[in-house]
Amino acid sequence: MIPGAGWEHLSYAAMLAFVLVGTLPLVRFYRLSVLRQRLRLLVAIVPVALLFVGWDLVATAAGHWRFDPAQTFAVRLLGLPLEEYAFFVVIPLAGILTYEAVAVARSRRRTP
């Protein structure tokens, strides 16, 4: 076994962590209240996540794409790695944080 090869299982999770590390600081920097609006976040993310997970399940079952067992956690839920479910929460959240940060940055510029 190659030294450090155990880290390979974290390859997908590392990408999700990178996205969160890149976007969560926007909350403090632009004083966003996004994370405090729990209900609004649920309403925004849950239906979209369910829709895309549904697509993902069908596409994975149909063999459109597959996931490398060596680079994901061993746990599978309905054939998808756990990271894939997290993807559909992390990416919409990152998108919303980016959108709100841009909105604040633009309004600051307009009213200095």
């Binding site: 390859s11 997908y12 990408m15 990178f18 996205v19 890149g22 966003l32 209240s33 996004v34 609006q37 209900l39 609004r40 976040l41 309403v43 925004a44 993310i45 239906p47 979209v48 829709l51 895309f52 697509w55 596409a59 149909a62 063999g63 459109h64 794409w65 597959r66 996931f67 490398d68 680079q71 994901t72 559909f88 990416i91 919409p92 990152a94 998108g95 919303i96 980016t98 959108y99 709100e100 940060a101 841009v102 909105a103 604040v104 633009r106």
Partner: protein
């Protein structure tokens, strides 16, 4: 053949219809959306390049315009990822942001 291509194009179309006509959030007509998307798409290329370049996610020859052969650019791929992923990402982020803006008018909350 190219089943992911068709699904991704359909998803992008549905996202556009949701934004403009179903939720009527019209993000596509706002500069804020396009500036945000410009930032997001750069990071999508980086993070998706990681997922596809390393083969964390692998695509079937039959599902995409290109083949299963992973190259940086060409063979229907951009930064290792099938071009279809751009439509997929666009749809996912647009529907998420549109839902967020729509939910903001429903949950009495301001930013």
């Amino acid at each position: 053949m190219t089943s992911y291509t068709a699904a991704a194009a359909l998803a992008a179309l549905v996202a556009i219809l949701v934004d403009l006509f179903i939720l009527r959030t019209a993000l596509l007509r706002s500069g804020t959306w396009w500036m945000a998307y410009g930032i997001i798409v750069v990071f999508q290329l980086i993070t998706n390049g990681w997922l596809t370049g390393r083969g964390i996610v692998r695509y079937s020859d039959n599902a995409i315009l290109g083949s299963g052969r992973i190259v940086f650019l060409g063979n229907g791929r951009i930064v290792y990822a099938p071009v279809e992923d751009l439509a997929f990402g666009f749809a996912l982020v647009l529907i998420s942001c549109a839902s967020w803006v729509w939910a903001g008018t429903r949950t009495r909350a301001t930013r």
